[in-house]
């Protein structure tokens, strides 16, 4: 197997699961609070060196909030000296002008800043923090320090109607890229799928607005590029998730677990290697977990006989597990999947809920109402409660 496997191209270093925001679509695992033993500086340096020696080029420092690690500058400098192209993926909390300069001096190449919306109200509601004004200041700090800047905004039912204003905001802030990341339903977003899911019509309307802005930007010779991440439930096209399992992307979780994606640690039956005691080379090439869904041998007939299998790699294993209960099944967003009905049921429920809302009252954004509507905000207490073993749950049930 090893002969055909290429080394990782992209390393995502999740330095910590700690973070100041409480976003309802956080991509950290729901049980993150149970994995809080973080790697030390020396171990991270060894991992970076090993990954780079294999041929990894792109490096993202992520979290949680990577700025909460006070060795971030040291790790960036180490990564830069190894020849990585380095990216800081941040909420902006903690990025002062002094720190932005120190990271630049250490060799940081670019910064991806998250926003939750173009309005203070929704940004602060979705993240359960007062961070909109701070993020706006941080965007200016990033540009003043001379970084290429990616603005990332996770899109869902609440902010899709604002998509035009989000584009305007990104332009005003001087973003080089705007990533409109339609919610992918894993982790906390899976918990909140009923509340976050837009209707297919809402997605089509927003996509048309994005297309118009792209055309305007191109004809005006503006440099900003907009990435529209496919809402794959509605588009019904399996995404080539991570460009294939264990093909180009290596995530290292805060506790040192090597993973093929952000969310795979929740898949049952896979023993992911820990880089505390395993080399990157052994983890990537030799571990059973990384080989489990490599190539096409694992595919069932639906994928194995499909002419798209080289392009979409069967879609997403985590999505197959969440929607079909089988990580080796065809991605249920695919029209060929026997489980596509479960995706359609979720979209139908979103359409019914939208219809219900229009009957109730004029559209109005009421934070308290939405919270009462069952949103689960990311946080330590919620993480521990959602991941409690059965006996612990019983013990706490009155």
């Amino acid at each position: 197997m090893t002969a055909a496997v290429k080394p990782p191209f992209w390393l995502l270093a999740e330095l910590t699961y700690r973070g100041p925001l409480h976003c309802v679509f956080c991509s950290n695992p729901v049980d993150y609070a149970r994995h809080d033993a973080e790697l030390d500086t020396a171990t991270w340096k060894r991992i970076l060196a090993e990954a780079r020696a294999l041929g990894a080029v792109q490096l993202g420092f992520s979290g949680g909030e990577p700025l909460l690690r006070d060795d971030l500058e040291e790790l960036v400098a180490h990564a830069r000296s190894l020849g990585f192209y380095t990216n800081l993926i941040t909420s902006g909390v903690g990025l002062t002008a002094a720190r932005a300069r120190a990271l630049k001096d250490a060799g940081l190449d670019h910064v991806q800043l998250s926003f939750q919306d173009s309005t203070r109200e929704l940004n602060d509601f979705i993240s359960s923090t007062r961070t909109f004004d701070l993020k706006s200041r941080v965007a200016a700090i990033i540009k003043d320090a001379g970084y290429p800047m990616v603005l990332n905004c996770v899109m869902h039912r609440f902010n899709l109607p604002h998509v035009g204003r989000i584009v305007d905001m990104a332009e005003r802030m001087g973003a080089d890229f705007l990533e409109l990341a339609n919610t992918q339903y894993y982790g906390w977003a899976w918990q909140n799928r009923a509340a976050l899911m837009p209707t297919v019509d809402e997605l089509r309307d927003a996509e048309a607005i994005v297309a118009a802005h792209r055309e305007r930007l191109a004809s005006a010779g503006q440099a900003m590029k907009i990435l529209w991440v496919s809402p794959d439930y509605a588009d019904a096209r399996p995404k080539p998730c991570m460009a294939g399992w264990g093909a180009v992307f290596l995530v290292v979780a805060p506790d040192g677990l090597a993973l093929p994606c952000h969310s795979a640690r929740m898949l049952p039956g896979l023993a992911f290697p820990s880089l505390r005691d395993t080399s990157v080379r052994r983890a990537w090439f030799d571990s059973d977990a990384f080989n489990a869904y490599r190539g096409e041998a694992w595919m069932d007939d639906t994928c194995g006989s499909c002419d798209q299998r080289h392009a979409d790699h069967g879609g997403c294993r985590c999505q197959a597990f969440l929607l079909a209960g089988d990580a080796a099944a065809a991605d249920p967003v695919c029209r060929k999947s026997a489980h596509r009905g479960r995706v359609d049921a979720l979209l139908d429920a979103a359409a019914s809920a939208a219809l219900e809302r229009t009957r109730e009252a004029p559209l109005r954004f009421v934070p308290g109402a939405a919270a009462g509507g069952g949103l689960v905000f990311r946080g330590d207490a919620a993480s521990l409660a959602l991941s409690a073993p059965i006996d612990e749950l019983q013990a706490t049930t009155p």
Partner: protein
């Protein structure tokens, strides 16, 4: 079209570097990488913001002992500029 007197430089968004794993020169940018063929790499390596296009052409013609590279270099630089890889730089 790029002014032959302009002094092009690789844009700040991009980093040009040799990748042993690819056995070649690449342009790195946020979340991506362009593998360069040898002529492209030889041109971009000379786009340092100090040398003019004319000087770059002369340099390449000496290095590869060939004449008449001007049209090819200008065509490549026009493409590279359209893709945002290089800033044309001002003529002095």
């Amino acid at each position: 079209m790029i002014d032959p007197q302009a002094r092009p430089a690789v844009a700040p968004m991009y980093r040009l570097q040799f990748e042993p794993a690819q056995d070649g020169w690449v342009l790195l940018y946020p979340e991506g990488m362009v593998k360069l063929n040898t002529p492209a790499a030889e041109i971009l390596r000379r786009c340092d913001g100090r040398r003019s296009v004319t000087e770059i052409v002369g340099d390449l013609e000496r290095a590869f002992e060939r004449d008449g590279l001007s049209a090819d270099v200008l065509a490549f630089l026009a493409q590279a500029r359209a893709r945002g890889w290089v800033h044309p730089g001002a003529a002095p």
